[in-house]
Symmetry: C2
Subunit: 466 residues, 2 copies
């Protein structure tokens, strides 16, 4: 740790020294603010997100001490920069992206997040984590829904005054429909749609929102087509019933949120047909359709987004992400963009340094054809799990997966946990999900020979348990 | 921008190359997992936060490709690392701090956040942003409150089953008392306690939680002692009434949240006497007391935490922070620590790289005596504002502040906005808050000569408006 510390300190001290040695001697204005370059960049970014709160774009490299330099070369004495208190180095600067983004922000968004935007979506809003991404996606759906209800007229005085004291109509009685077994985060809005484990929810006040059953399918899916289709139809019927019930209750469903694969809840799959019909139900009832790809997005299913397996041109109104994407955020259709600045907003709005890394990660994925690699490794993995399941029918069942996003059920919770620990002692890290599943979440660089290495260890562990 | 891009790409490519060139050829186990070093570090970190979810500590420098190396030298094939998908570089690795923190994490927490812990608090939980910090602080207060109600017995079966469907008693009807004009964030739990501007809250469902009046004081405080004391007494009485009312309604107040200075709401101050009495009311009614220092923390008031101006040994049960601290999070008393892992939790739990920078920032603050500097500059600034207010009594009023955390009221909103724009054209960046205030939020390195530079520009702008 000594070497590591020293190198960290070195970077920071050098930066601090620069700051001490060099400060401008006063403001210097070249253009109006925002100047032409800021205006041009605001226009560019306006194609990607709401820019109503942006003052101007900053040149953080030239900014020093108490002076902020904008992209038009204006140097201003900064009486308001809450956010980069000492300019120790470029990394300490966490710009307030919603107000004063750096010059390369639109370019980096294009190279990174927008280069992998889901079908039908050209806009993206970054956020710091998965929970914030979903919270803000829900807010976007509520705002969109209420704007429709108001016929896109401006809010009434009653709207404006009642919202200040948490009352309707300003804070409306709207709901988000979620699925039993779903996981969408742990902040209070998200948590009202999370239903995977009691420990996440216990003792936290919640909202009276509808919760539909998620299909409990039999695997392999292609061997139980008829039964599975019946189960999916049952769940879809329940969804429509709930939408009607909650409308009658006076808490209309503004949006439906679902994972393409319920991950935390036990790697529960559904068929493309289910998702297509669900998306149509949302459309029919005027609810937004939000696909939560926080766990599934980024390539592990063999496609960049798991919902691409559904084969739809218009799969969703909102797609949220985090984790593998290195930054949180959500894509959305144009009409889901909040109509005013500061409605979908926070101080940091993510961290632009993560976009730089993501652009490079995406280059590696493309250069190394990692999605094909994942598809190949995933097929080998699932095949291996099927074989082990045939070999140990009393211990293993329901092997399932897409790409390397795989899981298998173990006899019971105790055996599951014992297998995880034994595998760890042999140098293989596994994780659990649901009540008695083991889930596989390898990196995208997991190759076929890693699969074989794993299957050998797993087979040894199973033999010890039989 | 060309040079900048190239240098970014250089860093990333070099790292990617390393990853391609070098991967281990298989797992290698040296000790049980967790080994002795992991156990020792878990014990250390256990003094600072809940460690129930930690598996082991990682050596991220030695980890490569599909292999995770722990601090005891065990090399494991990683089938579960959701979070550092391609190991492009140390900065791409956003470790899941709650499960597999890096080796230096306890040490860096001690050097950074814990070295400035508020009085009476030895524990800290990092989070990615201010909203997540407050959301999780609220959850900690709810969990603490319900544990008291249950007499610290384990939750009932009804608790466990009802929480899964958002119903009480598992999701209890508890509330957080907040203040009109307060700002605590924009995710749905926080937003229910935010009451500064309608645009933040409009169209988002909320909770029926009590909202107390924040004292509307006259400035300078020392000239209106008697009237201000009456106003504060009125507000405190209302707080107690609301606590009783909400208990009778079946929504007891689990916690009270307040800013030491209402920032977004218009730089509203209250006296130390008010906060002392409020803290006692919280104690008397068994509610937790949460001081939100997201805006005020980090030194701008001339003390590291604004609540230190109250002069109390036991100022709060929870203190949340973000912004100037570079990372979000909250300090809390031992008894506010959740009793189990995964209750206060998320994937990233902040970003440890921010702790490294914060440690260095704190060194600069100490070395340069920046808090004294702030106190000196702040005095000069406030003195200058008083003089301008005497000179322009029809335009300016209520100059107020602590350290450089200052504000002044302008005649009306239109004049305020015009002054901000004119100052910007002269190279001085100002911000607004509340309905018609200008707020000052300079960096800690803002010296007296910067104050004079500002006062000259401000004086010119005012002369143009008179």
């Amino acid at each position: 740790p000594v070497a590591r510390q020293t190198s960290c300190r070195y970077v920071s001290k050098a930066a601090a020294k620069t700051q001490m040695e060099f400060e401008y001697d006063g403001p210097s204005m070249k253009t109006e603010v925002p100047g032409p370059r800021s205006k041009e960049l605001t226009k560019q970014l306006g194609e990607m997100q709401n820019v109503g709160a942006i003052n101007f774009f900053c040149n953080y490299e030239e900014s020093r001490g108490n002076y902020l330099v904008d992209v038009d070369g204006n140097r201003m004495l900064d009486y308001r920069h809450l956010l980069h208190p000492y300019w120790l180095s470029a990394f300490v600067n966490r710009p307030a992206l919603g107000i004063m983004p750096p010059e390369n922000f639109p370019e980096k968004l294009s190279e990174s997040l927008l280069s992998v935007a889901p079908s039908g979506m050209s806009r993206v809003q970054t956020m710091a984590c998965g929970s914030c991404s979903n919270e803000n996606a829900y807010k976007a759906m509520f705002i969109w829904y209420r704007n429709k209800e108001r016929g896109h007229n401006i809010p009434s005085d009653e709207d404006m005054s009642s919202c200040m004291i948490n009352q309707s109509p300003g804070c409306p009685d709207l709901s988000i429909l979620s699925f039993m077994g779903g996981f969408h985060g742990r902040t209070m809005g998200c948590l009202a749609t999370t239903h995977s484990k009691a420990i996440h929810k216990l003792d936290v006040p919640s909202f009276d929102w509808p919760i539909a059953p998620f299909p409990k399918l039999k695997y392999p899916l292609e061997e139980f087509k008829r039964e599975n289709a019946q189960e999916e139809a049952r769940c879809l019927e329940e969804v429509e019933d709930l939408i009607v019930q909650w409308r009658q209750k006076g808490r209309p469903v503004a949006g439906i949120v679902i994972e393409p694969i319920q991950a935390e809840g036990g790697d529960n799959h559904a068929t493309p047909d289910f998702f297509k019909k669900l998306r149509n139900i949302a459309r029919k009832h005027g609810s937004a359709f939000h696909v939560d790809e926080v766990q599934t997005g980024g390539g592990a299913t063999g496609k960049f987004w798991a919902h691409e397996h559904w084969g739809m041109d218009d799969p969703a109104d909102i797609v949220s992400f985090s984790k593998k994407m290195l930054t949180g955020g959500f894509y959305h259709k144009d009409e889901l963009q909040a109509d005013k600045a500061y409605r979908i907003f926070n101080t940091w709005m993510g961290d632009p340094s993560k976009n730089l890394f993501l652009a490079e990660v995406l280059n590696v994925i493309r250069r190394e054809n990692l999605l094909e690699e994942v598809t190949r490794s995933g097929k080998t993995l699932l095949q291996g799990l099927y074989q082990l399941q045939d070999q140990y029918p009393n211990m293993l069942s329901s092997a399932r997966g897409q790409g390397t996003f795989c899981a298998i059920d173990i006899r019971d919770d105790a055996t599951r946990n014992s297998i995880i620990l034994k595998a760890r002692d042999k140098g293989v890290l596994l994780g659990g999900c649901g009540e008695r599943s083991i889930r596989f979440r390898p990196a995208l660089v997991f190759k076929e020979y890693h699969v074989h290495m794993f299957l050998n260890v797993f087979s040894d562990v199973l033999a010890e348990h039989n």
